[in-house]
């Protein structure tokens, strides 16, 4: 089985020889040839008649593009997304943005130039070139200078080139062939090694993500300061004699805004003595409605008709439109809200003084609405 010829390569010993050889081969009109040297040899570009590298244009256009994008981004942050005065400076303080613009220009210019050089100019990474592993490349990587002409070259003629190389003073001439592996174009994506590798990577990624999110984040000090050297309410504490972490208020303390209720066990007193001193303004009625809907309506119904929303899970509250309730005094209503009646609990803790009186107003309004008289429409 004959191997496919890639190129004919010549080894030279002295830098002067390779310069001369490159110059001659370029003048002979070969196009698909290349010179390999262990380090850049001065003047070789001229000898090979290569055009100057155009990489610099990429660098400057990339750098300036990203600089402009960054400038716009910082403008957008400071002027559109979240305008904020910092240190009394304008929203778009150009001089203060210069350092970042400079850094971004350099960063993108440098990194992308290298990426473009490697990927587009060199077509790297490429480890399956026929030159690799040949004696030729082992020599030119160390201390020899090489020149090869590819078999694809239109003027390629094995014997003619061999004589030409000898003429130019080549110390050795190699024929370089494609490797079997390199010529094959089989799709290798289903190779067991590759597939197993993918599975291992997937397994590792899932495992580490799981450990990170479910274990690591709950370990001190990564747990967002969940463990702290302080006592919380309801915790046991050895510091105090009674063993409680939470302290009781000092004897006789009164909560702010607290007004004691004088008629707790005196329903008669409440009925006779309490009067609604809250003016029946629109504002107070609105407050009463809000509180009524929050606290009273679940059992008594949205309009006080005794139509509970609880569907029998709890005893239905009676209607407030019965004659009994309509005839109650304001003080009696207030008393019932405050201390409760039958299975209704007191709401002293949940509804404050003013709100209770506002509810009384609202109940009166509802009662009036359900038993409206003719003159009310005016």
């Amino acid at each position: 089985m004959s191997k496919k010829l890639f190129s004919l390569a010549a080894i030279f010993d002295k830098p002067n020889d390779i310069m001369h050889a490159a110059d001659s081969i370029a003048s002979d009109g070969y196009t698909k040839y290349d010179v390999n040297t262990p380090y850049p040899v001065h003047g070789m570009d001229g000898a090979m008649k290569l055009k100057p590298s155009r990489l610099g244009y990429f660098t400057i256009s990339i750098g300036l593009t990203f600089m402009s994008l960054m400038l716009y981004f910082m403008y957008w942050v400071n002027n559109i997304d979240y305008p904020q005065v910092i240190g009394g400076k304008p929203f778009f303080p150009l001089p203060a943005l210069v350092p970042i613009l400079f850094e971004v220009t350099v960063l993108t210019g440098a990194v992308l130039t290298v990426v473009i050089m490697i990927v587009f100019f060199f077509k790297f990474p490429n480890n399956s070139h026929p030159l690799h592993d040949s004696d030729y490349i082992k020599d030119v990587s160390s201390d020899k200078y090489g020149l090869y002409i590819e078999s694809d070259d239109p003027k390629f003629d094995l014997d003619k080139i061999k004589t030409r190389f000898k003429e130019l003073g080549a110390s050795r001439i190699d024929e370089i062939y494609w490797d079997e592996e390199e010529v094959k174009t089989v799709n290798r994506i289903m190779e067991p090694k590759f597939v197993i590798g993918l599975i291992l990577i997937a397994g590792f990624t899932s495992f580490s993500a799981y450990m990170h999110l479910n274990k690591l984040l709950y370990i001190t000090p990564f747990d967002w300061m969940m463990t702290q050297h302080k006592v919380s309410a309801q915790q046991k504490s050895d510091f105090f004699e009674d063993g409680f972490a939470m302290r009781e208020p000092v004897m006789g303390s009164v909560a702010r805004g607290f007004i004691p209720y004088a008629f707790k066990d005196d329903i008669q007193g409440a009925e006779q003595n309490l009067l609604n001193s809250l003016p029946a303004t629109e504002e107070n009625l609105k407050l009463g409605k809000k509180k009524y809907l929050t606290f009273c309506s679940p059992c008594h119904g949205d309009f006080g008709k005794g139509d509970s929303r609880l569907k029998g899970q709890f005893p239905n509250g009676p209607t407030i439109h019965s004659d009994k309730v309509v005839n109650w005094s304001d003080g009696m209503l207030y008393h019932v809200i405050t201390v409760g009646q039958n299975s209704m609990p007191g709401y002293e803790k949940q509804i404050n003084n003013k709100e209770r009186w506002a509810i009384v107003h609202y109940i009166r309004t509802l009662q009036r609405a359900f038993n409206a008289e003719d003159g009310d429409l005016q």
Partner: protein, 460 residues
Amino acid sequence: MNTIDYTKEPILVEGDRTLKQIDDAIVAPLDRIPNIKFFIAIGFTLTLLLIGAVALGLSFYYGTGLWGNNNPVGWALPIVNFVFWVGIGHAGTLISAILFLFRQRWRNGIARFAEAMTIFAVITALIFPLIHTGRPWVAAVYLLPYPNQHSVWVNFTSPLLWDVFAVSTYFTVSFVFWYVGLIPDFAVLRDRAKGQIKKIIYSIFSLGWRFSNRHWQHYEMTYLILAGLATPLVLSVHTIVSFDFAVSIIPGWHTTIFPPYFVAGAIFSGFAMVQNALIVIRKVFDMKDLIPLNTLETMNKIILLTGTMVGYAYVMEFFIAWYSGSQPEYFTFVNRAFGPYAWAYWIMFSCNVFSPQLFWVKKFRRNIPLMFILAVFVNVGMWFERFVITITSLSRDFLPSSWGHYYPTLTDFAILLGSFGLFFTLVLIFVRILPAVSIAEIKAVAEGAQPTHHGGENHE
């Protein structure tokens, strides 16, 4: 006393080696099992690293209260160490980029090593601002402009954010520069490799480099572009680091001399560190021909130059503090020299200003033990410079009622030791696994490596 002819550029690769022997000499440390000296050295640096790691672990667990940082000295040692290590890095880029642009061919032998030191120094430096945030594992959230539903962005007008951009750009560009330089050397290693595993690893990193001149052409252009970008970058990095101080209004910090003064100081300390490390490496790995005494002498001249610039800055700072007529400014400088931290100030002054002046004498410039000791002094002095600037200004600013005193704790020192451990461990590993001298670059300046004039064309 032997005379040196300064009218000619000295030979850059001594010992009359062939190109093949140069390869062998550079690659030798990679191929053989290292000697006992190497294990002693790495054992020592790993011990330091372990001390630092333990101190850091404790700091993370118990919090930054283990450090001496207090109010008013909130920046304290982490920032001192950060500025110190970033400064160390600057010599590498100066050697690899600025001297490249100036066509200083003597740089070829030390550029790779200096660049590696840049990268390691910046890695070491980056640790400090990160741990100074208290919870470095969420530092990305504080430092980077990441999109979020609250529209909370970083403050682009803050010098601290400029620093984030400057140092991360510096690290990335240095790393890319370094890797681009390594590609041909990986290919050399690939072609020399005996073992299959080594060959695969080197092949992957060499990307399939073929030493083709059509590639060399773009490669050299890229190298030039990177050098051109890295040169203003390296000057900008320490300028921006100095902005952290100079943009504030604290007396002793709010001065326009800071950017050039910081850059000179950075190159000063960086060269001292590179010189120290090179003396050790050329001895341990037998590279005296590749890193000749002439190169070290040239480095000493740069240390002398930058040291004198730093000394000028110290004196000028003092003069301006008096000349400005600003009382807090003047007080701060008198306080530095004669206040509670006077010991630190005079360590700094004597190490940085007096010791490099000995390099005016040619004999001292070429005396290896002496230059080693002087460079150590320079680094001690430069660490104290950052200590003096940070601590004295913060501990006594405008209001005497808010003055305070600061001393580092044991944990602070342990972390500082750990940073040296990390840096030198990385350096030792680097010398062991990668070519410490750029093979392609050093061969290009060896005797007889380049064609004679006119490209050796035969003019018949």
